[in-house]
């Protein structure tokens, strides 16, 4: 089965179980990628993990993203089926004003730290997460540093000025 066929079949099967769940499908670099509606994300991931046909039982990665218009945040899940050796990518997007998404730590224990990291850097609130607190940055940090609204550079630095470094 080609990656194109896999993507088509996935889309049809998910649509059959969850009406209106698949918002978009892409195949960048021959990598099946599905964008799933925010309301369905937990159910779709649970289905992909537990359904015997798909059997995507391994969560390779979970990370956050901010869209170009800076008004939406997203969460990206990388799933892997070891037996058929198929990998897929599932994305979901939601408003930055209410950055909430259901946790998948109940499905994959490995998601626990990944979700903490995504919270740490993007401020995504994972509803139902058992221990949602910062994991890499200093506890007293009051920003979510990878969001575009916060400057990347440290603002106290004095040895760089506009003339020399174009700050």
């Amino acid at each position: 089965m080609s990656q194109q066929e896999l993507l088509e079949q996935l889309k049809q099967d998910i649509e059959a179980h969850f009406q209106g769940a698949v918002v978009n499908t892409e195949l960048p670099y021959n990598f099946p990628t599905l964008t799933v509606a925010h309301a369905h994300i937990h159910n779709v991931l649970k289905y992909l993990k537990e359904n015997e046909r798909w059997n995507f039982f391994f969560l390779t990665d979970l990370t956050g993203i901010q869209t170009e218009d800076e008004k939406h945040l997203g969460v990206i899940y990388h799933l892997h089926n070891f037996i058929s050796n198929n990998r897929i990518r599932v994305k979901t997007f939601f408003s930055i004003d209410k950055p909430e998404v259901p946790t998948v730590a109940d499905l994959w224990s490995t998601a626990n730290w990944m979700e903490r990291e995504t919270y740490d850097f993007f401020g995504v609130i994972f509803k139902g997460h058992p221990n949602l607190k910062r994991i890499l940055n200093a506890d007293e940090m009051d920003i979510f540093p990878l969001r575009k609204e916060f400057p990347l550079e440290d603002q106290v630095r004095e040895d760089k000025d506009d003339k020399m470094f174009g700050r």
Binding site: A138, P145, P151, E153, R157
Partner: protein, 190 residues
């Protein structure tokens, strides 16, 4: 023939005595100079090495460059027995409180050397997560530039520290100026 038998002068040079009055059976000098001499030649460094500058420091300690030549070969991995804090590498903001705690645990007199651009100013890591120079949290005596500095530069820095240690007044650490300086870094004086 007899001239050729003269003993060659040894290449090894030991520490020279400070200026003083010498006579038969006695030598008089000031206590400051004697203590300065002892401190200068028996610095116990604590390497707080976090990254590539730490690798250069390892080379400095090893046989080719040999920090033992300057009496500083006894590394102390406990701050309680260290005189010289060598901060080599990037210090993140999360690590800052730990570094300060290490500094506070060191007994007086103590000196601090910032090795490399990151410890001195944050270096290339102009970033939300990196401390922009350790002098934002603890006082620094000598800055060694470079990314990373070569062992020769680190030795030069150590020689500068030795100079400070040798010439420091014994009263300095008890002075009001010194206390005020520590207070300006928010370090408690017990």
């Amino acid at each position: 023939m007899a001239k050729n038998l003269s003993v060659k002068k040894s290449k090894i040079e030991i520490v020279r005595a400070p200026d003083g009055i010498e006579g038969q059976g006695f030598f008089a000098t000031s206590l400051d100079k004697v203590i300065g001499l002892a401190r200068k030649n028996s610095l116990w460094p604590l390497p707080f090495a976090t990254s590539c500058c730490g690798i250069e420091f390892m080379a400095t300690m090893a046989s080719s460059y040999d920090l033992g030549r300057f009496g500083a070969e006894r590394l102390s991995f406990s701050p309680r027995q260290a005189d010289l804090l060598l901060v080599a590498g990037t210090i993140s903001k999360k690590l800052g409180p730990t570094l300060r705690q290490v500094y506070e645990q060191m007994a007086e007199p103590k000196w601090v050397m910032a090795i490399g651009a990151c410890a001195s100013s944050g270096g290339i890591f102009d970033s939300y997560s990196v401390l922009q120079g350790i002098d934002r949290i603890i006082p620094v005596d000598v800055y060694v530039p470079g990314c990373a500095p070569r062992p020769e530069q680190i030795i030069e820095g150590l020689l500068k520290i030795q100079e400070l240690a040798a010439n420091e007044s014994l009263k300095r650490r008890d002075s009001q100026d010194y206390k005020r300086m520590l207070e300006s870094y928010g370090i408690d004086i017990k």
